[in-house]
Symmetry: C2
Subunit: 274 residues, 2 copies
């Protein structure tokens, strides 16, 4: 099977266009003409979670967080969630799943149900942004900053609760030229931001804030941390919780260098299809 | 497992609320404060379709149609779709699936991909309505009208192309007191409209417009026709393509009567969880 980013490219080619849609496939979320921001994610049992290790409430909370994180990466304020569940036979925790979805304080405004061979939770988050921050606005010289420690999910076996960085995204939206949420490791997501911006990037692995117990490899290439990665002009005032980990540059390609300045080409991030 | 409508009730209880959401779970689509209308549906291989009988383009077209039909039932104009795909290994028709989704002229503005044991297509449709028509506005004495022939999908084995009744929904929105799309058979959907409106209903089976080859039972209780059912005041001018099939009344409960006036209590509509 093709890698995820190539599959997304295939979908984008077939997707059609309209004057209502300002930003379509390829960013963290779609942006409509009136400032509406919308994102969809799907979590599948056996791929994204294991029911023996996460209960229904945690699965719902995680599914909502993944989407709200996409809104955070646009600097958007969330309005509501829509949820579609595929339920295996004898699954009896629909209410707990919905409670988990609603646990971030954003209401579930609609949904659909079906039977399915495994538990499937597909969530759409709707929000609004006065000035949506895209992946594509980064410029050479911009600093790359992250909102918090990385690698914690990989180190924990992907069981930690996720807090979408909504306040951080809204704060960074006033200075960031580009933003993305780190869902597949900074190695993959810095590349996505740089490619969308038409620039290259240098990331200093020694500067990555590491979650407790996370290895350098987990911090760089582990999935589902849901911190934000923002490009900000070097003169911008950064909030104290943001950590500078690299910069954008003219030279194409994304290079992750270790403490000795040597590139680590083995760190490529997480791909569900690889 | 509980019937679908009871599961939806469980989710609604856990869903939370917000001043941004005017209409939440329980109608065809959610309505936000600014007139945005949003609907989610999920189609699962082996439940809603069979890949040996529908190709990827037809599956995509169907998934989009199911959602656009929900917008039609609110009288909304569609803006865009968001799609989440669960893809089995060796599935090579992602582009065809996306082409099918976009085949109704509404662009796909965003999406997500995952592996999954069977093909899962979850679609969210976003639209806008100046005056969204809910399920709940029906009054005793209103006529019940349908937009087209019923039972065609059941008669064909659920393989016919679906055309969402967007123009019809927009036209009926100016006169309808309540509206719903007929996705589970008029027996089930007339009950949903009547219950949401706090009234009863009488449907005359002999008056149902029947699709070619459809039995009376298929016209009344077959799924996935995606025609609209509207309640309209008796004095309203109905478009020529609308067929009156019954009326709302004070007396609670929904009764389907045959040509002799006898109730047919065996016709209950389609429930994926029954």
């Amino acid at each position: 099977m093709l890698p995820e980013d190539e599959l997304v490219g295939l979908i984008a080619r077939a997707a059609g266009a309209s004057r209502d849609v300002l930003v379509g496939i390829g960013d963290d979320a779609a942006v409509l003409r009136d400032g509406l921001v919308a994102s969809t994610d799907v979590l599948v049992e056996g791929v994204h979670f294991d029911r023996s290790r996460l209960d229904a409430r945690a699965i719902g909370a995680r599914a909502a967080a993944a989407n709200l994180s996409d809104l955070a990466a646009m600097g958007a304020r969330p309005l509501c969630l829509l949820a579609a569940f595929g339920l295996p036979e004898r699954f009896g925790e629909v209410e707990e799943l919905a409670e988990g979805l609603a646990s971030h304080g954003v209401p579930v405004a609609g949904g659909d149900l079906s039977r399915a061979p495994v538990l499937v939770v597909s969530v759409t988050a709707l929000g609004r942004a006065e000035r949506p921050v895209l992946r594509s606005g980064g410029r050479p010289g911009d600093l790359l900053a992250v909102t918090g420690p990385l690698g914690g999910q990989a180190a924990s076996g992907y069981t930690l609760p996720v807090t979408p960085r909504l306040a951080e995204g809204a704060a960074l939206a006033s200075v960031a030229t580009a933003m993305i949420d780190i869902s597949d490791g900074i190695a993959a997501d810095a590349r996505r931001l740089a490619e969308a911006s038409g620039v290259g990037a240098l990331v200093r692995l020694a500067d990555l804030p590491r979650a407790l117990g996370a290895s350098l490899e987990q911090a760089a290439a582990g999935g589902e941390d849901y911190e934000l990665l923002a490009a900000v002009p070097p003169e911008a005032a950064l909030p104290s919780w943001a950590t500078v980990v690299g910069r954008l540059r003219e030279q194409p390609g994304v290079v992750l260098v270790d403490a000795a300045g040597m590139p680590r080409t083995d760190l490529v991030g997480y791909d569900h299809f690889a």
